[in-house]
Symmetry: C2
Subunit: 296 residues, 2 copies
């Protein structure tokens, strides 16, 4: 901590990026750099993509290395910190707390009782108390947000739009239970609701059920939306090339996400893959479902 | 139809039982016989257990054999008809309509747009119009309903009870979407929500996610409840020996179902299997969750 806390580029200082898996951490880093901001990456051991790290200043961290992060981030002149990339919720016993984390261990234990939102918002608070400011990846790089309208060539049918509205209303109704952010609806029939398994796994399971003939309808729409009241700084719903592959395997018609409230990773690859697979991808507004639901 | 519509045993006539898979059709048949009522089984081809049929008068039927069922059931003097045993929702193209079903085909096609409740209640209406009276299996055999309190030796912990209340509130909130009747909650965290896959498959997937380390918590409660407003004559949530095996594989602490509103198949085997697996099984009241939810 002894070093200079220099503030470069516009008085904002360097940006700390705690990196999970996938390409998004690098998209955010590139966007910040493009705006002239210095970035320091903190790849999470076991998750972050080591191959792409070389061209960025970075320091590996593991779950529970709170003291190490705070020390290095302060030395690097970071105040803003972004959490981005996918990470599976670790078990409590997988957190090896360093001395700084040990001091807040009782709070960490309490954090683990409840859903992901509860866990993440408690974690944000701990970072704030250590003097950092958690910011949303989309505040740094708004270009990663899903636009309104279609990505790729295909359009949803009228039936798909009805399924989308049903899916959005369902997600809105279960949001307060701090459960998943995705569902699959086909012909007015809810085929899957995401909980702890994550979207990719949900789609893989649906694909399997269809292959085995356990679900005998075809088509349908994957609908993703943020939970009502969800902290946008942490966990916006995300789609990327893997989501397209999963949706194609599950023989869906397309994917709908809430425009401006979901992240699209590698949009060009997504558009190309969707066209090849014959899927539509659409950024929709949430108003319609909310109104139907009588909430918000 | 030309034959006598004789009404035996208490003026109720014979009871037609349309049989899906599992032991429940036979439990209902035995209960009705025990009360002196004649039963005629209509095992569904591809689902009903052929080995156990011999000791009952029966006529095989397939999906779509509406005319055949009506003809034989009328000849057998049946007015009441029970649907019982598990059946996976067939695809529309798997229904080979006979001439009677052909006449209502446009309605059958419409039935398939929507959730299971919608499908089943439309089906009930068609049977009613053919002169039959659909009755709930639990009206014929109330002994198949889950009692209040524990089955087997083990009791839920205070933490399990909190998870139970959360699970019931969640099921209550999603009921109007005509989606699943089951969820798994562990330590305040919703791990799984049943949709089209069914409870056994949901538990198998959860077991797999835990084996693969994708879900790293342990314990939890399977909660099953009927949908609000669900037609009790068709589709009460059911647990049986297979549910216990599935819950054990998924490393849960136990199972909670709404007492008097869920069916327990083979209760002695369930109790024994639960004790062996170290699981609690409890019939709970729904009031608490409903009150917390501010609904009903």
């Amino acid at each position: 901590m002894g070093e200079v806390m220099s503030n470069s580029a516009g008085g904002e200082g360097a940006l700390a990026i705690i990196c999970g898996a996938g390409s998004l951490p690098f998209a955010v880093a590139d966007a910040a750099r493009g705006r002239g901001r210095r970035v320091v990456l903190f790849p999470l051991r076991g998750w972050a993509d080591a191959n792409r790290l070389e061209s960025y200043p970075h320091h590996w961290v593991r779950f529970g290395a709170l003291g190490r992060f705070c020390r290095i981030a302060a030395r690097e002149g970071c105040r803003d910190v972004v959490f981005i990339g996918s990470v599976v919720r670790p078990a409590l016993w997988q957190i090896w707390p360093d001395p700084a984390a040990l001091r807040v261990l009782p709070r960490i234990i309490r954090m683990f009782r409840g859903g992901d939102d509860h866990l993440m918002s408690s974690l944000m608070k701990i970072f704030e108390e250590c003097g950092f400011r958690p910011v949303g990846a989309h505040e740094i790089a708004p270009e990663i947000l899903m636009p309104e309208g279609t990505v790729g060539q295909l359009q949803p049918s009228e039936g798909n739009r009805i399924d989308m509205a049903l899916g959005l209303a369902l997600l809105n109704a279960i949001g307060r239970f701090d459960v998943g952010q995705a569902t699959v609806v086909a012909d007015g029939h809810v085929l899957a609701v995401e909980a702890a398994e994550g979207t990719d796994e949900m789609l893989a399971q649906l694909a399997q059920l269809r292959r085995k003939g356990r679900i005998r309808s075809s088509g349908g729409v994957l609908v993703k939306a943020p939970k009502p009241g969800q902290d946008r700084r942490i966990d916006l719903p995300t789609i990327g090339p893997r989501t397209i592959a999963g949706a194609a395997q599950a023989r869906l018609d397309g994917i709908a996400v809430v425009a401006g409230e979901a992240i699209i990773a590698e949009p060009e690859r997504v558009a190309q893959a969707a066209d090849q697979a014959g899927l539509f991808i659409v950024g929709t507004r949430q108003d319609r479902a909310r109104t139907e639901d009588g909430a918000n």
